[in-house]
Symmetry: C2
DNA sequence: TTGAAAGCGCTAACAT
DNA sequence: ATGTTAGCGCTTTCAA
């Protein structure tokens, strides 16, 4: 392995001068610089980043802990974060928790041992119990996509998921729907359901618990099954005219089930989802949904961390709640009759 | 910051002993070990991984360069790789190229400077010109998901994409289809198209170039547009009865377009895709496709690298071609009449 | 079994 | 503008 000392000897200077050239410091004379660069080229020298990290105390990488990247929501967030980091010369150490709290803890333990300059944590379920630890690592930490009970001891950049549910509910209310069925991944999305119910409650309509169908994951298949159940449970006299799905993926399955029951979307049943996944716009009919500003979230969170590093102090506790937005498409309409 | 020396003093031993305890070496007496562990707990000591890396020359992280993780194909591969690495105590440094060759080069440059113990590279387009460099980094390198012209100078674990196309084509031939239309992201998937054509050529049917519709990306929308074009260009006398799509996403759009044209899948037109994405099985009708063994690929590639690290020598050049498999579902059937 | 010494390759003062 | 001197915190010889 060719080291800085090798280069220095070859160029007839000291390590320090080589270092100055490598780091692009302006204090090196043009001719020394040329000599050093020649030596670097001849020897094929490349600086050892680990040694630099030990000397500077900075690794130029940030850790990102996410539940999974199989879910497009997270993979998009990861991609945005990675791009932003790269623009600032930082690298991304990615760790997934996959619903495994123990695994999450291990990741936290290693990443915090100075192998990253800052830590971003997305999602909540697997990690919420470890939140108290996060503050003690002495490095900038931020949370994002924190749907349930964001802690007030750390900076968190997340989305107003309650509002997302509320907006979906209000949209249905404004169309004139009186009876709501919710199909949601629970408990993960209970805040969204709460928001939808609040919209109805505002108008004096109490949504009862038996209108909420819990499913274990956010897939079209689970949505389909639950919707079949929900529709069959329906009393014909007072039919459900609106279904709120806690994600677009679920909503896709719900629309399927509605059709399967010989009903039409939106003429017989309106369906509204949350997230605005790519397929939503191209579904049949195009799905009305509430778009979650995930890119914005990724940007804000990354910015927070980068600033924390630059100012050499952990960002102070704060809660940034980004607003979702309704996208009215063709899957929702006023109730018939 | 509390260092190993602090712990050593507190416990009344030397750094070396502390190190032995931390690394779990068996040579430490029970009582010294207890003293040291007490000191570690009291001081809240945690080892500095960067310093360890400098001393050992190993970082316990491997770099993975992928085109994007927005594409589920890659995100699934990344997730499998990450899981496998974690099981072996390794971390994942993730870098995306996003179709930017320059960016790819930068990533290569930094990652190779001893910040990773090995390098895995997926995809091809953005990086193919840099392949010659890969061998010179002195660290284990492997390629995966290399669809076009895998180099013979490096170990590569990829899928037999030509066979995937061939299997799709042969399936259609076996059903009795005589005329094929292909809708493919080109040039990325030209090997797949070639495979499909080979299946027809085997039976003496030459597929002409004007039956291939090139689209710029693998989305249902592009597939939809192209299929509309393809179907309208059709001479009624000699109608196309089979469409080969180079990915499932495209195939979904194709089925859409077929229906839009008042035709039925598979009665009037058979549609076959490649990849077996989750939606394929739940499409209407369920999509016949060729499943790509991406998990296997991720496993083999990771294993190759881990072995390379363990044996302290770069894995030797090799080509592992994993076989795809046809999944016959309801979107394909014998041609009418 | 434990201790002492010598690096790993680099950066950051300070001195020249 | 360049050289000198100390480390960064750990691991790894080699002695004791």
């Amino acid at each position: 392995m060719v080291t800085m000392l090798d280069v220095a000897r070859r160029a007839g200077v000291t390590k320090q001068t080589v270092s100055n050239v490598v780091r692009g410091r302006a204090i090196v004379s043009a001719e020394t610089k040329a000599k050093v660069e020649a030596a670097i080229a001849e020897l094929g020298y490349t600086p050892n980043l680990v040694a630099r990290s030990l000397a500077t105390g900075t690794t130029m990488t940030i850790g990102f802990i996410v539940p999974t990247i199989a879910n497009p929501f997270y993979s998009e967030v990861v991609e945005v974060v990675e791009t932003l980091l790269e623009e600032h010369g930082y690298h991304l150490l990615l760790a997934t928790t996959r619903g495994d709290g123990e695994r999450a803890r291990r990741h936290l333990a290693t990443l915090s041992n100075r192998s990253v300059d800052a830590l971003l944590v997305a999602g909540d379920f697997d990690l919420s119990e470890h939140v108290p630890l996060l503050g003690e690592y002495g490095l900038p930490v931020a949370l994002c996509a924190w749907e349930i009970d964001p802690p007030d001891t750390l900076p968190v950049v997340t989305i107003d998921y309650e509002k997302a549910g509320y907006l979906a509910g209000r949209h249905l209310r404004e169309l004139g729907h009186q009876r709501l069925v919710s199909i949601a991944e629970l408990p993960a999305h209970r805040v969204r359901v709460g928001g939808a119910h609040r919209a109805f409650a505002e108008d004096g309509i109490v949504v009862t618990d038996d209108s909420v169908f819990a499913i274990p994951d956010s897939t079209p298949e689970s949505g389909y099954e639950a919707a079949l159940l929900a529709l069959s449970a329906d009393r014909t006299a007072d039919r459900t005219t609106a279904v709120f799905a806690s994600t677009d993926a679920i909503a896709l399955g719900v629309m399927e089930a509605v059709r399967h029951n010989g009903l039409r979307v939106p003429e017989d049943v309106s369906v509204v989802g949350i997230d605005d996944i790519p397929q939503a716009a191209h579904a049949h009919p195009p799905l009305t949904t509430v778009a979650l500003p995930k890119r914005r979230m990724a940007q804000e969170a990354t910015g927070l961390l980068l600033r924390g590093i630059a100012e050499n102090q952990p960002p102070s506790p704060s809660l940034t709640l980004l607003s979702p937005e309704v996208l009215v498409r063709a899957s929702s309409a006023p109730p018939a009759g």
